[in-house]
Amino acid sequence: MSALRTVGTVAVSVFRESVRDKVLYNLVAFAVLLMAASYLIGQLTAGQDIKIIKDLGLAAIATFGLMIAVFIGIGLVWKEVERRSIYSLLSKPLSRAEFILGKYCGLGLTLVVNVLVMVVAWYVVLAYMATTVPAEVRASWPAPATDLGMLRAVGLILVELMLVTAIALFFSTFSSPFLSAGFTLGLWVVGHFNADLKNFEGVVDSRAAAWFAHGLYYVLPNFSAFDIKQQAVYAQAVPASYLATTALYGGVYIALLLTASVAVFSRRDFK
């Protein structure tokens, strides 16, 4: 049996577990509810309704995706070890690397499906909104309500979520869920202010501190690079090369994290 097929088998199992997990349904339902709430806010804000719905939609997709990535990601490996279900699993023809990759792909698949559901709900709300607005108002919008260009922002949100999942999974291979959640969310917050570290020498006098900050800039994930929500909402052009390099950056970071996860997990004793 090929390694790819084994990874796929584990991934499908993770996806099935997520689907049977009621928390996941609640998150999706909540996201849909938020879309409805954004619609109501739009009703109260003359002329700004579509923009607010676009803003809130993207923010909700990112936030609920983040919750799923962190809170399911941190338990992916820990739960298996803690409940000892991993004992039977690893006695089968399944390497530890295939196990880790399968878990990652399974949660990735869950995220993709969830984001898709949220995006569909969001576009339905936007399409409905567009029908309630007079044609002359619609003509003044910089882009149509259901501008497909916004999917670029969704795409980068998805890459960001996959990166968050890889971080959560990495911590999950050796740490408790509580610590993993703390580390992952901490990195996510720091990663959104990462760009500031690059120009730290302008803020501090110490050369050492500036070099240290510079080093951190290259080591820590730069999550702000994935944020093109404003450009999407205002229909501003985002070069394809930027999208490609950012996605590549995310992919390389994910690959490094998965390699580290496999290295840590492969050496671990299950006492």
Partner: protein
Amino acid sequence: MDAIRTEALTKHYSIGFWRPRPYLALEGLTLAVGQGEVFGFLGPNGAGKTTTLKLLMQLIYPTSGTARILGAPVGSAEVKRRIGYLPENPYFYDHLTAEELLEYFASLFGYGAAERRQRASRLLDEVGIGAERRLQLRKFSKGMLQRVGIAQALINDPEVVFFDEPMSGLDPLGRREIRQLILRLRDRGCTVFFSSHVLSDAEALCSRVAIVAKGRLVASGPLSEILAFQVHGWELVMSHVPGGALECALKDGRVLKALPLGPDRYALDLPLGTSPERLLADMTAAGAQLVSLNPLRETLEDFFVRQVAGAKTDRGLE
């Protein structure tokens, strides 16, 4: 080729956070199990049985020493395809049904959908899981989970199967069924390596046993040899025993103990050095009648207690 072979297999842990101290979980285990054997790996709680099984499954890595299964290093994909493993107190994904779990494990061996279903169904029948197979495992009792655990260990028709406390959580009927299953596996040529602290299971099933205590191997060998070697006297059962003859035999030490079984009927314990034929002749001449004469062998429990009590107590390392 041995089914299982370990050479000086050793596992030490560090315990304590601020001042870590080494702890000996298993020390220098050298063992060979032949193909087709039912091998009992015995020891009290905390003796190192589960540690040994985890080392054989490569769930933990040895501090030193080696282990091979069917001639190949443990943990290799080739070995995993040919073995089965039941962990102690198994836990499985409780959102799955028993059928789904077995089919999932079967898919890891690359079986097609039809074969997965067929194998899962056959094994669930074999371990006595009926209509409950379509219930989620979170609704299963401990004994039912144990049966599912045994079924998953056999999903690939393994050549060597490892059971860690297979009778745990089973009722008497379940224990008997699993004993019969182990004997059927033996008859099919499967090597069964099982750990237990229930000695009656080992006596009923094993051709050979090893006893571990406090991380060290204290005895191993064929059950018949271990126990036959330890004959420590005779038990002579007679009826119509005249009181005077019995009193005389007790007085001169040819009988150690006389246990009354009924009117004039006794079970007499004779020391090992005594000739039972001579006493039998004397008693028969006095009017007693022979019912039975048996050697008094040490039970596995006696042997086990003696070996375990003699094991070194210190598990720290110098």
